[in-house]
Symmetry: C2
Subunit: 313 residues, 2 copies
């Protein structure tokens, strides 16, 4: 699947009034630590606290007309559920969310704020998909996958587009990889709008399906979901993978310890609230800093939804 | 004491290469919540995580020549200790910090990174001052008060100066009040560089010395230090108070509950790490939003040093 400049520009024009043009922040501390010039694209400041809102609003704007009254459905325990429920409310489309029964309360509350139609399922992929199919068929809804969907990828591409408009001389842009929707969107923006900028993937070693998939040339699956980066536990999708194969030459792996250390740097030194899925990209840069000396590096901080309930005052 | 435009501009030129020009961030969520246009001046992104670095670097640059080898001393358990220790190291001046024995470990570690000369005292003002005097006399050091000092006030003024350069049509700027150094600095910048912008103080009800001082016309003291806004526990100084009397017509009080609620909004919705002393100003705006409808409001987020050790993953 190829996307043109025009495809991406059209989507950006379509959704720009619904999304926040998030700031790009710089931190001397990080430049010194990493020995390069680092540009943080802060999607933690996006509506619903993650880049997923770009995807959700674009997907909702593009549903076929016959579904506008009946509505949409997705399965997600996290940021896409939050994003889709708000985007649907914004555009007045009914929204159903299938959510695992073990979803943390603060995430469920965020979705409940926008829709009452939350359907619980067992906490495994099979139950998610079965429950979704059942409701989808009963109510004749439109299914929007959180990452493996063209409108989602195009919505995501607007994040990197803004970043390279703000800073045109980036040598690399780092994106985390979970389902692959963000890095695929990042890749099509970078490839269409820059000449030499390269896309680097960052992935937890514990769920290194994308890393292994690039090597084997087919979609590999994870044997565990055991990572603190809860947004990156999912497997690559069939639409995302070929885009990633085409444009992403390198995926850097990081350990759980490295993810948490970089999260602590972002919270304590940069004073930004991000989730571990975001800190994965900083961890990958810190770990490999000798390879990126003096370069201009964009880091996509994909989201900021962490649970502060444990904070005591 | 009067300060001119020239005084403030000179200081800004002197220190601009040492400080971060912190970004001003906007959040639709807050504009909707408060019914006005809110501009967050993010000093949590300043070096050492607070506006105090502006004060510290200016004070260090202005010490009399005979003290350059012997060094400086202050008493502080928090942000000024951190700021002064880094500023001193930056300009190669020896720095001594008197710190209460009950200072949280993360704050002490931050200072230890820059200086070995930390002297513990009993956790009360009398012991702080006695210990400081003793070392000061023994070592013939230069004393820099964390808030009640002209160079400190002038350094602080550069924060509001940047804010009003970025947004020239502000109707109000809110500043927290602890020792009074930040709001005094804010006031002299606003009064010298704008025509109609007003300065609003925000203070915890539990330590409302500034509020009572404005009414009585003399410096009142606090009977307790019992507030979560640990940066605002100190009393007004003799240099700051007349400046505040002259320029600050209104101080808004907020409860501990309101401070914590607004802190949670900033962490969870805005995705910024700030300390409770910063959330006091948002709390004051939310509580009084009907008075500020449709106005352009600058809020100084004075710092972001909170302890995340309790966060569990």
């Amino acid at each position: 699947m190829n996307f043109s400049q025009q495809n991406i520009s059209d989507v950006r024009n379509d959704i720009s009034k619904y999304v926040i043009r998030t700031p790009v922040l710089r931190f001397d501390f990080i430049d010194s630590l990493c020995g390069c010039n680092v540009f943080f694209k802060c999607e933690n400041f996006q509506y619903t606290g993650s880049f997923k809102y770009r995807a959700a609003i674009n997907a909702i704007k593009n549903i076929p007309p016959q579904f506008k009254n009946r509505g949409v459905i997705t399965h997600s325990s996290g940021n896409f559920a939050h994003a889709l429920s708000k985007a649907s409310k914004e555009l007045n489309i009914p929204c159903h969310i299938v959510m695992p029964s073990n979803t943390p309360k603060f995430k469920k509350s965020a979705v409940q704020y926008y829709t009452k139609d939350i359907i619980e399922c067992e906490p495994n992929l099979k139950s998610r998909e079965l429950t979704t199919s059942k409701i989808l068929n009963e109510k004749r809804l439109y299914f929007i996958h959180p990452s493996n969907n063209m409108d989602v990828i195009l919505g995501n591409s607007t994040c990197a587009l803004e970043l390279i408009e703000d800073y045109q001389n980036l040598d690399y842009v780092f994106s985390p990889i979970g389902g692959g929707g963000l890095i695929a969107g990042t890749a099509i923006a970078i490839k269409n709008f820059t000449n030499n900028c390269k896309i680097i993937g960052a992935e937890p070693s514990n769920v290194d399906d994308a890393y292994r998939s690039l090597i084997s040339g087919k979609i590999e699956t994870n044997r565990t979901t055991d990572t603190v980066a809860d947004g990156l536990r999912t497997n690559l999708g069939t639409i995302n993978f070929p885009i990633i194969q085409q444009h992403v030459k390198e995926i850097l792996l990081v350990s759980e310890k490295e993810i948490i250390e970089s999260l602590n740097i972002i919270l304590n030194n940069l004073k930004l609230v991000v989730e571990p899925s975001s800190s994965v990209v900083l961890a990958a840069l810190i770990k490999n800093k000798s390879k990126f000396k003096n370069k201009n590096i964009g880091l996509i901080m994909c989201g900021g939804n962490i649970d502060f309930d444990n904070l005591k005052f």
